[in-house]
């Protein structure tokens, strides 16, 4: 008896819906995406990105008929983006809103862990992607404050400039008749030196 008491009691979800829609749709042309849940979200909840014209009953019938997924309840909300402008001084407009729905599932569903291994992420060329993102962010920052010119010492030395300067140094070394890795006299490394 005591073991029963200590076990966590979880209420079995029961399907509330008694009947489904009667209008037959033969060729629906909607795109519904399943989204990864938030880290602490219950496995009995599934989030979907649905078209704006969808309602809760639509999603319930869609999941039941097309995917055989039973639900007990559905919540919905719309993510309204902030107004944007085309260019810096262009006209204001509001980007299209995105409707989201959270379905309460009868059968729990746990997502696989997100891909974090660098080896696995190579399929998407993750390294280059990150580098480009970083560059783009820096560029945007620069465009936002065009008057703020960074110090030259703070700038990264471009690869081509670095390569040319190395070659020049090599030439000088050879002209002086020095071995590899040996620096000429009076040569001082400075930060600005490329």
């Amino acid at each position: 008896m005591s073991s029963i008491k200590t076990l966590p009691r979880i209420a079995e979800p029961v399907q509330r819906w008694k009947r489904f829609g009667e209008k037959q749709l033969f060729l629906p042309n909607h795109v519904v995406a399943l989204l990864r849940p938030k880290p602490k979200q219950s496995p009995h909840l599934a989030t979907f990105a649905v078209p704006l014209q969808f309602n809760k009953l639509d999603l319930r019938d869609y999941l039941h008929h097309a995917y055989g997924v039973e639900t007990t309840a559905i919540r919905s909300f719309i993510n309204q983006p902030k107004p944007e402008r085309k260019n810096k001084n262009g006209p204001w407009y509001r980007p299209r809103a995105q409707k989201m729905m959270i379905a309460e599932l009868v059968k729990p569903f746990v997502w696989p862990d997100p891909v974090k291994e660098e080896e696995d992420l190579k399929q998407w060329d993750h390294e280059m992607f990150q580098k480009l993102q970083k560059d783009r962010r820096a560029q945007e920052k620069k465009q936002k404050n065009p008057k703020k010119v960074p110090l030259r010492t703070k700038l990264a030395v471009p690869d081509d400039v670095r390569s040319v300067s190395e070659q020049a140094r090599e030439l000088l070394r050879k002209a002086k008749g020095l071995e590899d890795g040996e620096e000429g006299e009076g040569k001082k490394e400075t930060k600005l030196d490329m």
């Binding site: 990864r36 097309a66 995917y67 280059m128």
Partner: protein, 270 residues
């Protein structure tokens, strides 16, 4: 000088009177576990003591109870001594077992990584051409349509995962795959529209054809020229079959959802 209490302000006098009253008249109840914390509300002053004065008792039975301050109830209940259950942390609970046949797996292009790799997204053939789709029945077209719908959902799910998880490139590959699916869907609609126009024309021609009866009573087709000849029944049967073939795909009453087994076969073609 009158009594000492009377020399104070009325309110102070009331307080003074209470303090100096006989302490033995107050009975101290045996100490119980305190359920409600002490109320911070100022005690009501009993100033009106003359006969016929209004009642001064506290009408609020739940004074001092607050859900926000978590004071608890003022009264002992039969369950007050029961220990409250303590919530367990998520890690202590047994892991949730996911059904391998759960319907939501159909949203994933890849069960391990969720988003399909660009290389896998590139592995697709061309879309179905209208010429190929013309020879298909309504049931086949309908199943193919649902295969396309599910494929588009899969691509969209992968794209959300790739973008939200900042996994990397692959947008153009996914879009290329999506485009091919949409071309197939356009072809299906094209073929069905063609069939609908053919049916409309057939109805228009049948209205002026004396051999065809559109009233819905009796025989729909009565060929006059061959009535006397032999083999009339065969010709009639053939003609009727043709009419049904033309109308069939438009009024298809098959299940709105294709069966999975056949749908998967169609997906292989995609």
């Amino acid at each position: 000088m009158a009594s000492s209490a009377a020399s104070f302000r009325p309110s102070m006098g009331a307080a003074f009177t209470r303090l100096t009253s006989n302490p033995s008249s107050r009975r101290i109840r045996p100490s119980l576990t305190q359920i409600a914390s002490l109320s911070t509300t100022a005690p009501l002053l009993k100033r009106h003591t003359y006969p016929g004065a209004r009642s001064n008792k506290d009408m609020s039975k739940s004074r001092g109870q607050s859900a926000l301050r978590r004071t608890g109830l003022r009264w002992r209940l039969s369950v007050s001594d029961e220990p409250l259950p303590k919530p367990k942390s998520r890690d202590e609970l047994p892991p949730v077992e996911v059904d391998p046949d759960h319907g939501l797996w159909d949203f994933f292009p890849n069960r391990e990584t969720v988003a399909a790799a660009p290389e896998d997204d590139m592995k697709h053939g061309r879309a179905w051409m209208v010429e190929e789709l013309r020879s298909k029945s309504w049931e086949d077209l309908h199943k193919l349509w649902w295969v396309c719908v599910k494929e588009r959902n899969r691509i969209a799910t992968g794209a959300w995962e790739r973008e939200r998880g900042k996994m990397g490139f692959g947008k153009s590959e996914a879009q290329g795959r999506d485009r091919e699916v949409r071309v197939t869907m356009r072809g299906i609609k094209h073929v069905l529209t063609e069939r609908f126009y053919a049916w409309e024309d057939a109805v228009k021609m049948a209205e002026n054809d004396p051999e065809i009866d559109l009233s819905g009573k009796g025989r729909p087709f009565t060929p006059k020229e061959y009535l006397e000849e032999e083999g009339v029944e065969d010709v009639k049967a053939e003609e009727e079959k043709e009419v049904v073939d033309v109308r069939g795909p438009i009024e298809g009453e098959g299940a709105a959802i294709p069966s999975e087994g056949k749908a998967q076969g169609e997906a292989a073609r995609l």
